[in-house]
Amino acid sequence: MTIATAHDHTHDHSHDHAPGGLMRYFTTTNHKDIGTMYLWFAFTMFFIGGAMALAIRAELFQPGLQYLQPEFFNSLTTVHALVMIFGAVMPAFVGFANWLIPMQIGAADMAFPRMNNWSFWILIPAAILLFATFFVPGGAAASGWTLYPPLVIQGGIGVDMSILALHLMGASSIMGSINIITTLLNLRAPGMTLMKMPLFCWTWLITAYLLIATMPVLAGAITMLLTDRHFGTSFFNAAGGGDPTMFMHIFWFFGHPEVYILILPAFGIVSSIIPAFARKPLFGYASMVYATGSIAILSFIVWGHHMFTVGMPAAGQLFFMYATMLIAVPTGVKIFNWIATMWRGSLTFETPMLFCIGFLCMFTLGGFSGLVLAIVAVDITLHNTYYVVAHFHYVLFPGAIWGLTAAVYFYLPKFTGKMYNETLGKWHFWISAIAFNVTFFPQHFLGLAGMPRRIPDYALQYAEWNAISTIGAFALGFSQLIFLYNVVTTIRSGEKAKDRQWEGADSLEWTHLPSPVPYHTFETPPLLK
């Protein structure tokens, strides 16, 4: 009955006077439009970043230099990371936050619709600045995404442009976070208490606080780089009384919470999808909220584990090792809760669920390799090797990217009113899952055997695993084209989806709104029990 009411509402919006065509998107303040733009932006960046990764893998197919100059190779590794982190994963999560948060808490829109528009549109000049660096004298930044001085000081104008691009993306993230926090704390429908919010809202609330706390730290660090480069300061130059190690401390004080920014919203997504396909409520809702909070707090005191090889004192190494190991406890609680949600459920395995199960297995493997790296002595032999590359791709690809992919399949019927092709979705999952492991599992072996990361060429004993890894990478890239095809054909010609496409899904967007959701929703708050 509620659904029918919402339907009727869609027809009487003559007060909108929204411009049509492209201007609609330039001027829109509607959370769904802005969410859509974020998602397409992120999807585009994902393919550009992926193409860079394939160029890297092509060069590493065999020992020797075949395709890329070493300097350009370094630029590719640097920009691949920046694009994937700041261009693909973070905007994709903000896109889902825009779409889902107002619907899940029963609000009409985000708290600051105009700022919402602005926070999306400054991403475009940021992306242009970042890609333009490939065409300026000196090329793109080639210091690795961590931008360590003094190496980054040697770069050309491309480094300055990247710094400005990061500033813009940081400002965008901060605005998005302010918007999300304000919306979640002020615009909840009557009866929607904090502890009734879907977990996606909770994880985003915590992520938004992380962003507000750490983005200014990154901004500070890269501004100091800028003044070191051009205005004669010596923050990171020992000859002038500075210290290159200080940059690492500041960078990773941002950088470690950042990795949780990249994964916590995915935790939220998985926490919505697994109960839906297990047809029973999420196990241990409250403990999930507390675990997320603990992870966020711990993330501020573990940054030193990125720097075990700078030569910090034993006390520092011990502190950062213990703190890092501690993160395994709340993360473990989350994994156990998800599995307990499946326990005694009534499981079906549609594409979103497959991606979530893949997420559970592969993310946990990444978590274990993280535990191995937390052990200082072992880290000494693995730091800056391919083991680290394997580790963070295991947590970020099946973690962040599969979480997002699951969300795309899960919500496409709701957003577009059309159902995706289930067979293609399953092909996408299985090819991705196999190709991902073929790509990244051998990189553990490479790292253990001592192959450093960020090198365009390698000794002969690393040849076999590198060749296998490259083959896997191209298969992985191909499987994403299936994804793109599936999304596009769904939007153009998918079969009509049901209002409650997934019978086990029980948050407001499924129970109170039709598919596709109308342009304006919950102009009057829903009635909650």
């Binding site: 020797g64 230099l65 100059q69 070493p70 300097e71 090329g139 210091s143 003094p150 190496l151 040697q154 050309g156 020992a238 000859a239 290159p244 297990a278 029973k280 196990f283 241990g284 090889t309 700078v310 030569g311 034993a314 190494q317 090792m321 190991m325 406890v329 609680v333 599995i339 949600t341 499946m342 326990w343 005694r344 459920g345 009534s346 499981l347 395995f349 493997l365 274990f368 191995v372 052990i375 200082v376 072992v378 000494i380 032999t381 730091h383 800056n384 492991n437 253990l448 055997a449 450093p452 960020r454 090198i455 060429d457 390698y458 000794a459 002969l460 004993q461 690393y462 076999e464 695993w465």
Partner: protein, 399 residues
């Protein structure tokens, strides 16, 4: 149809399980000899501890993985809707279970942390070394200074560029067994002695990384950090720079040769005369040539011949075989104003480098080598200055 789907699902889920277990076990068993899957054989007590710690944690993690995901796969097979499973919607909260699965991981972590702590304390104890070597990274090679013995030397990659190749053409020659891991002068130390390394850098951050000795230490410009090792047995141990340091980061290997005490003593005597730093007066790194080399007078043919070889070893990576470089990061030497102009400007850049660019100081080359190199660039790639630079010119410029 339903049945067929079901079979497919079971098969696929089974395959995932199998692959993960197979891969995990491959880490620990050296199944395929040519496919390295583990940390290389340790050669020092610390590396030995690291190896043991890694195996211990690996097995703990593998066991947890099998148990935890055993539950998950049991659910996947047992509680599927197609088997007629009904959801138990009341099973969604249990404080007792939450407490249990918070405490158990905590206890396991403590069991991991105790041996890990011991290794850290051993690793950081750099006291009472038998000898000390200063390690300096630079773009792109290493320098080893035996300060107590007043000598030091550079260690550079010796793999020829024809084996590495060029983008577009690829390698022109078959790669040797030690491809990218071979150096001209390795670090040499005696066996079974506590060696302390003081690690630093001249330009950007480098990483001195030799896994078999259990060492990975950043060299940070302006700071000196110390690490130690004691090699158990004689042999040659290889490593590479571990921290990205610019264009040729992949091309600055490390080789450590551990000799018996007698052989080390012999090497020490030879090296002291060969690489003495006692007479060094300038701030620039020591020059490794005897005085008579400085008095040599080059002919154009001699200088160009010698210069061509030095160019291939030191300059070609950036300035390219045709001298055209890769502007703007690596400027062209062909037709360059500096190369064609007065020689003191070019000598100055070669000796001191150009701050803020990748052009490093080549002061480590001898006077005659720099003279030959500059003569070569001034009279190649279409440049024809016609002038021969002499070692005496370089000697004069050093002061």
């Amino acid at each position: 149809m339903q049945k067929k789907n079901d079979f497919f699902r079971r098969l696929a889920a089974g395959a995932v399980n199998l692959v993960s277990v197979a891969c995990l076990s491959m880490i620990s068993f050296r199944v395929l000899a040519s496919y390295d899957v583990n940390i290389p054989q340790p050669a020092s007590p610390i590396a030995e501890q690291i190896y043991g710690l890694h195996m211990y944690i690996l097995w703990v993690c593998a066991t947890i993985f099998v148990v935890v995901f055993g539950f998950m796969f049991y659910s996947i097979f047992k509680f599927r809707k197609s088997n007629g499973a009904k959801p138990d919607v009341n099973f969604h909260e249990s404080t007792l279970i939450e407490i249990i699965w918070t405490i158990i991981p905590f206890v396991i972590l403590i069991a991991m942390a105790v041996p890990a702590t011991k290794t850290i304390l051993d690793m950081k104890d750099t006291s009472s070394p038998d000898m000390t070597v200063k390690v300096t990274g630079f773009q792109w090679g290493w320098r080893y200074d035996y300060s107590a013995e007043d000598f030091g030397f550079y260690s550079n990659l010796t793999t020829p560029w024809s084996q590495i190749g060029q983008p577009g053409t690829g390698p022109l020659e078959k790669q040797g067994d030690d491809y990218l891991l071979e150096v001209d002068h390795p670090l040499v130390v005696p066996v079974s002695k506590r060696i302390r390394l003081l690690v630093t850098s001249n330009d950007v951050i480098h990483g001195w990384y030799v896994p078999q000795l259990g060492i990975n230490q950043y060299g940070i410009p302006g700071f000196i950090k110390d690490v130690w090792f004691k090699a158990d047995r004689t042999g040659t141990y290889k490593g590479q720079c571990s921290q990205i340091c610019g264009k040729l980061h992949g091309y600055m290997p490390i080789t450590v040769v551990v000799k018996s005490e007698a052989e080390y003593a012999k090497w020490l005597v030879e090296s002291k005369t060969k690489w003495s730093t006692k007479v060094s007066v300038s701030a620039a790194p020591a020059v490794s040539t005897p005085a008579e080399e400085d008095n040599k007078v080059f002919t154009m043919v001699d200088a160009r011949e010698k210069g061509e070889k030095l160019y291939a070893a030191n300059c070609v990576a950036c300035h390219q075989p045709n001298g055209k470089g890769m502007p703007p990061a690596f400027p062209s030497l062909a037709g360059s104003k500096i190369v064609l102009g007065p020689s003191d400007q070019q000598i100055n850049i070669v000796l001191n480098g150009k701050p803020g660019t990748a052009m490093q100081s080549f002061a480590r080359l001898s006077n005659s080598e720099i003279a030959a190199l500059i003569t070569f660039t001034k009279n190649s790639f279409g440049n024809s200055v016609g002038k021969v630079i002499q070692p005496a010119d370089i000697k004069a410029a050093r002061k």
